[in-house]
């Protein structure tokens, strides 16, 4: 059960990573002004990294065994 939850979370993280790569690719490749593309990257990348790291930290703090026992009891 925990392995499944971890795998599912990894897949979600992979999804975030792929979408972020697409956004960065568009900003770098298709921008007609290099200065504005740098500004966009400077805004997007650090905030995205910060949010994902925060999410990973919170996920790692979740006690999955307690969580699953609780959800089984409620069902």
């Amino acid at each position: 059960m925990y392995a499944m939850a971890n795998t599912f979370y990894l897949l979600v993280l992979l999804g975030f990573f792929i979408v972020s790569l697409f956004i960065i690719y568009h900003i770098v490749k298709y921008s007609i002004n290099k200065n504005s593309s740098q500004v966009m990257l400077l805004i997007f990348v650090p905030v995205m990294i910060f949010l994902v790291l925060l999410n990973i930290i919170f996920f790692s703090r979740i006690k999955l065994e307690e969580f699953f026992i609780f959800s089984q009891l409620t069902i």
């Binding site: 956004i23 568009h26 949010l51 919170f58 979740i62």
Partner: protein, 191 residues
Amino acid sequence: MDRFKNFHFRGQHSEEKIIKIVRRHWFNIFQQYLIIFAMVFLLILSIQILPGILSIPTNSPEFWFVESFFAIIIWIYIFILWIDFYFDVWIITDNRIVNIEQKALFMRHISELDFSKIQDVSTEVDGLIPTVLNYGDVHIQTAGTRGRFLFHKVPDPYGLKGLIMDMQNRVARKKVEKNKENKSPFLENDV
């Protein structure tokens, strides 16, 4: 000084000069961002209210995991909308108009139109807000089979129409002058 010296688009000719870059009016992105504002408002509201309603501690990692998860989705959505707006652009150069149409992340359409092929330019400002904020559509009727070329929800459509017609006249004059220069002196004597 050249305003657009830092700008360069793919397919730009070596001597081609950018005259104007047009994007959709800011009100268009504002309308799309209303849903983002609502989502951010709900996120902040849920941080304030949900721990009380669900009687969970405010330092619960499950709670902050869900909140940060939605924050990531909002952040990605902000940039997807921004890319759709910012990379959807019309570039007016000294001899053509290039339309780069960006639809979300996976669709991109580029078309171009020479000033010499323009037959008619018309504007359409429809509604109260477009009239007050001065934005609307500019339609260009072309001589070719492509039909119409559309500037959608752009600021100052009347000014843009004037610029396009001005550029069209300039290109036509240049063409006439070039033809005169290339004309054989023998032919000129005959006339």
